[in-house]
Amino acid sequence: MIRARVLCQQAGRQAGGVILALLAASGLLLLAGASPVEVFRQIGLGAFGSVTRLADVLVVWGPLALVTAGLLVTFAAGLWNIGIEGQIVMGAIGVTGSLRLLQDAPLPAWAVLSVALAAGMMAGAAWAMLSGLLKTVGGVNEIFGGLGLNFIASALILWLIFGPWKRPGIGSMSGTEPFPDSLWLPALAGTRLSFWSVALGLAAVGAVALLLSRTVLGLRLKAVGRNFRAAYLLGVPAWRHLLLAFGLCGALAGVAGFVQVTAVYHRLIPSISSGYGFLGLMVALIIRCRAAWVAPVAVFFAAITIGGIQLPIALQLDSSLSGVLQGLLVLGVLFSDGLRHRAAARP
């Protein structure tokens, strides 16, 4: 009974954060002259109103789940991997480079795609480990290192798209020449959704959940994250584990880049990450790094992203309001958590 009551109290406080966020969002919508109920209804319809839209939600969910799963590893090791956006970009560059190299080779499509997947993972991992090396060797905080590397990755992708990989006779941010259909991850009939995108997302979430809860490596990563020095003194090679966490996260970001190139855009575009790195950070924050919640909360965020498209169509509202809603949800929950911790700390 006592446990149930405590749980209810906690639930009430947490739900308070969501309600607070929704109230704030509603206030903003009213200021913008829109009906909050109609906005939420349109977002819901836009995300779940038909099979096609549900499939579109899952198109976002795949890379978002991959990225969030990766971030759980770095969060477990006590790292703020802000460079995740750049890691997705570098993964996509690795994928595009290998596809360009092999698309005319006498190889079956599955072999070319497998090589591309491996190249994307390696590129993402290498870029992430660069953040790790900057931290371990140069003492550069991973937040600043990651930000810098994001800028470099953005510059590199622009240079490739406007330079060596440009479409013949064209200089545009609209991207590289699309790859032939044979190198697209197959989509389910009548949708843009690739089974492989969802499968890779589920596999990543499952693997990370197992890693963090059932393996010695996961335990060591968490030990490093909780107390770096204590872990080191107890015999855990802490720096090596930090690099490993970066590498694992970067590899999963690279897989997200692979999905974006081969299942969504079928070419390389400047905004190939679609902002999923930062969205993944929000998901990881809101679930407080519990792997079991990655899948449903990522669905929730993906639904807001896709459902938000209906705002300009149905209500002539800017769809960036959906981003505002996502941000407010995170802030509301964090604010609620902060209040709770502060109350608990009082004598």
Binding site: I19, L45, D56, S172, M173, S273, S274, I287, I313
Partner: protein
């Protein structure tokens, strides 16, 4: 760390709210479900619907259809580009318009070419207009022979020539800057047409040495500013005005050049700009605007909507001339030129004569003309074919700036 139970409640609350929103009483009839006698058409715009440029011209053309063809309604999405709508594709957004009852879909940008083709192939029963594309052109390089795809484009080469003409008639420094978007066939030929108009004014009207006319093209990388991705058009315009250029002809969808002209202009050193696309674009800075070449999509849209309604619609490729009897006729002319308040009266008179000459058959695409690299484009007396103009592979001799990116 919170317990999963608490997080479950939190998530449940959120999902419940969105779920409730989604499971309401269904879409309201006025928003989503077309009446049986209503014709809904969909418009995808690459930029904001109020950009005072390309997208606003299309948006207002859609409103023109609603006003002039009874029983029609437009549904639309603007900012259809990966920077503004990450994770989405034009084909996906076209599907959303289809779900809203659209029976004709207009993709308004060259940037949506792949998406328009993908959507056309997936929905062979839905008529599609891809603005500025060439896949429905039997003579074109990328003819796709799709039963439901049409292309519409205005012959803006005439409007661009008029812009170049007034720029050359007005400049005091002999330096004209061209603020270009991305680089492709369309933008190369429009920049070249602007140059041809400027050269004509400089040599044929002002009787000046062509070597004294400087025409420089700077490309930003897309149709409008995408921070962090494209070059900033404000800075590019500033660069022009700071280095002795006193007129900028804009080829991008937004009006930064005009805003910067206003900022840089002084009584001693006036600065002018010529925006692009939208009939009312000069409103940004009337006192510095020499005029604007603009598209008038409304009549073509009406024609397609009526044909679809009547069941007579056919795939077609339209490259529409101005109505030479009155290029600013809103019900007939696909391309026009609105004179700006800053256009000197003498130049305005010469412009009228120039428009008359174009209407009478003056063809600026007549040799001798050379490409930027010095190779022959047109021999003396030779005129360019439509395909030679459409697929112009380089800028022309006399122009400075990149013909393709990063050469």
């Amino acid at each position: 760390m919170a317990r999963p139970g608490a997080w479950g409640m939190r998530l449940l609350a959120g999902l419940l709210l969105v779920g409730l929103a989604g499971c309401g009483s269904g879409p309201s009839p006025d928003v989503a479900t077309p009446r049986t006698d209503e014709f809904v058409f969909g418009l995808l715009m690459v930029g904001p619907a109020n950009d005072r440029g390309w997208s606003q011209a299309h948006f207002e053309a859609g409103q023109y259809v609603e006003k002039n063809v009874s029983g029609t309604r437009m549904v639309y999405v603007d900012k259809v580009n990966p920077a503004d709508r990450p994770g989405t594709t034009p084909a996906q957004l076209a599907n959303d318009l289809l779900d809203r009852g659209a029976r004709l879909i207009i993709f308004n940008s060259d940037d949506m070419k792949d998406g328009a083709l993908e959507f056309a192939r997936a929905h062979p029963d839905i008529p599609i207009i891809h603005i500025s594309g060439d896949n429905a052109w039997p003579k074109g390089r990328d003819f796709a022979r799709l039963p439901n795809l049409a292309n519409v484009m205005g012959r803006m080469e005439h409007g661009a020539a008029m812009a170049g003409f007034v720029a050359a008639m007005t400049t005091r420094t002999g330096r004209i800057g061209y603020l270009g978007p991305l680089i492709n066939d369309e933008t190369r030929r429009l920049a070249a047409a602007t140059y041809l108009g400027a050269r004509h004014a400089w040599t044929q009207v002002l009787k000046r040495d062509p070597g004294q006319l400087r025409f420089k093209v700077s490309w930003i990388g897309f149709w409008f500013n995408v921070p962090g991705v494209t070059a900033d058009p404000t800075q590019v315009a500033d660069g022009f005005f700071s280095s002795g250029f006193d007129v900028i002809v804009s080829g991008i969808d937004t009006t930064e050049a005009l805003a910067e002209a206003k900022k840089f202009s002084t009584p001693d050193k006036p600065a002018w700009a010529i925006p692009y696309d939208y009939v009312n674009a000069c409103a940004e800075a009337e006192g510095n605007c020499l005029g604007v070449p603009y598209y008038n999509w409304g009549p073509a849209y009406v024609q397609h909507v009526e044909a679809v309604r009547a069941g007579t619609w056919q795939p077609s490729f339209q490259w529409l001339d101005p109505d030479w009897s009155d290029i600013n006729n809103p019900d007939r002319s696909a391309v026009g030129f609105q004179k700006g308040a800053a256009l000197p009266p003498a130049a305005a008179q010469e412009l009228d004569a120039f428009i008359g000459a174009l209407a009478g058959g003056l063809n600026l695409w007549t040799g001798p003309l050379r490409y930027q690299d010095g190779t022959v484009f047109l021999k003396p007396g030779e005129t360019a074919t439509d395909t030679q103009v459409w697929y112009l592979p380089q800028l022309l001799q006399g122009m400075t700036g990149q013909s393709v990116s990063n050469q």
